[in-house]
């Protein structure tokens, strides 16, 4: 500022000057707009409000954008959660234990896990085997295609800790995976125990098991391979034993049909058999030739079944031998419906 007078004014002095000037200014006449102009402006303001009531306010998009966004986010989260549960049922053990989604996510049931470990061979349903329902086939196919091999190995690893019975059966599958023929045969074994395992209640620790994503370390894998080899040998022994047992039943002809004590003894021996013996029986049927190898029914059917077809046939044979022809016929019809392609033993067909 060049004006010395103005420069000399400090703020307090300036404020005083301003106050005096303001008083003088306020003493002047306060001019106001003409009333007609006031009316015109107010009328224009009202017209604007009435003509565009929505335009004056916020649009609905602005008003509802926040709640809509929140709702969409929640929906998206829930959808992704359900998709994740469908694809990785082991992620939601708590839900399964509460029975929220037992049909889809139950990881504890061996029957539900069986298709995943069985691989594509189970899906192909060779001739002479009962057809798997379409919905279950689809679900099984999805699981088998979605689950990578290492995930299978890891899930087996966790299973081996909590479920020794299943691990003993599933382990040879991984160990002998190099040999395709043996592997496919053994994988059928894994499918076979489904009914028995499904009937048995799932153990609690299995339900609460946590998913394992870590890769299998080499030393652990080596020891596991050894165990698998041992288990495989054991399974083979069991298979041969069971094959002999079933062969004796199936091979019972008309002459043997009169030999009542033998099947009766066999029935008595097998009737109270615990669920843990069921895999062995089924595995023998899986390794046997196709005519002898009825695949295990899917879990849902197995729940309703009277047991493995061999047992059923034995019971039918008993009915026949006891002379209960009507019941014998009914049971045979039921059996035929259930296993239309199953080759009946000569003892039944010969006298029919």
């Amino acid at each position: 500022m060049n004006d010395p007078k103005l420069n000399s004014l400090d703020d307090s002095e300036f404020d005083r000057e301003l106050a005096v000037t303001s008083r003088a200014y306020k003493s002047a006449d306060g001019e106001l707009p003409p009333p007609a102009m006031d009316d015109a402006i107010r009328a224009a303001a009202r017209r604007a409000v009435k003509s565009q009531p929505h335009a004056m306010g916020k649009s609905w998009i602005v008003r509802y954008s926040a709640p809509l966004s929140a709702a969409a986010l929640v929906m998206l989260t829930v959808s992704i959660g359900f998709i994740a549960l469908d694809e990785r049922p082991e992620l939601a053990p708590a839900l399964v234990s509460e029975g929220v989604r037992p049909g889809v996510t139950a990881p504890a049931s061996t029957a539900m896990r069986a298709p995943e470990t069985a691989g594509p061979e189970v899906m192909q349903s060779p001739r002479g085997l009962p057809a798997v329902p379409t919905a279950e086939k689809k679900a099984m196919r999805e699981r088998s295609t979605n689950a990578p091999q290492d995930r299978l190995v890891e899930s087996r690893k966790t299973d081996s800790v909590s479920r020794p019975n299943e691990a003993a059966v599933a382990a040879p599958v991984a160990a002998l995976a190099k040999d395709a023929n043996i592997a496919s045969a053994l994988e059928r074994q894994v499918v076979a125990p489904a009914p028995a395992a499904a009937a048995a209640p799932a153990p609690a620790p299995v339900v609460k098991e946590a998913p394992v994503f870590v890769a299998d370390p080499a030393p652990v894998a080596a020891t596991r391979r050894e165990k698998l080899a041992e288990n495989t040998a054991l399974s083979k022994q069991e298979m041969s034993q069971e094959r002999q047992a079933i062969g004796s039943i199936a091979g019972a002809g008309p002459a043997a049909g009169n030999d009542a004590p033998r099947p009766a003894q066999k029935t008595a021996a097998q009737a109270p058999a615990p669920a843990t013996t069921a895999p062995a029986v089924a595995s023998s049927s899986a390794v046997a030739p196709p005519t002898y190898a009825p695949p295990a029914p899917p879990a849902s059917m197995a729940d309703k079944a009277d047991g493995p077809p061999e047992k059923w046939l034995k019971r039918i044979l008993e009915l026949k031998q006891a002379g209960k022809t009507r019941e014998f016929d009914e049971e045979l019809v039921k059996f035929r419906k259930r296993y239309p392609d199953y080759a009946l033993p000569a003892a039944l067909t010969a006298q029919k």
Partner: protein
């Protein structure tokens, strides 16, 4: 004044369709804005036209109004812009004065306070002090007059004056200081 009755709240209410809120806003600011315009634009009819234009602009802009500054700053900024448009098209001499760089407080020598012999106030010493200051105000350079009127009629602070007129804080303060000094000097002879 509570928040509910603040200018900004009234404007938001008008935005949502409350015509009464506009009436209240208009009643608050009609006098000050009218005087702010008529004391800068010497043609009364034109001043009234500008006054009406400002309010019409406000009505049209109500839909887009956001509380980002004081309502009165927004209102007087619109009025300033309308006046500048008027000066540019009709009173070029006054518009030039706004373009003078006086950020450092310097003003052209011919824009200084009118001498007593040049002022009508000299010939009418019997008039009241209020009339005198109006005349002194008329004699002020347009930017200084505007700064003073924004302070008095609009009730804006120096910072808000700077905001409304688009100049720096220092320039706005300088304009106001010059205006007050000149008015005080002119009034001294009538007090």
């Amino acid at each position: 004044m509570t928040d509910e009755n603040s200018d900004e709240a009234l404007m938001l209410r008008y935005q949502t369709g409350d015509a009464a809120a506009f009436d209240e806003l208009y009643a608050r600011h009609r006098g000050g804005l009218y005087r702010f315009i008529t004391r800068q634009c010497r043609v009364r009819e034109r001043a009234e036209e500008i006054f009406q234009d400002v309010w019409m602009s406000l009505i049209q802009a109500a839909e887009r109004y956001r509380v980002e500054a004081q309502f009165r700053t927004w209102l007087y900024t619109m009025a300033h812009n309308k006046l500048m448009d008027y000066f540019r098209s009709n009173a070029r001499a006054e518009a030039v004065l706004y373009e003078v760089k006086d950020d450092d407080g310097e003003v052209a020598t011919n824009d200084g306070v009118a001498s007593r012999t040049q002022e009508p106030l000299v010939q009418a010493e019997s008039r009241q002090q209020g009339e005198a200051i109006i005349r002194l105000l008329t004699a002020l350079p347009a930017p200084q007059r505007e700064a003073f009127l924004l302070y008095e009629e609009g009730g804006l602070s120096v910072d808000e004056i700077a905001q409304a007129t688009g100049v720096s804080f220092e320039a706005a303060k300088s304009r106001l200081r010059y205006a007050v000094a000149k008015l005080r000097e002119g009034l001294a002879e009538y007090v």
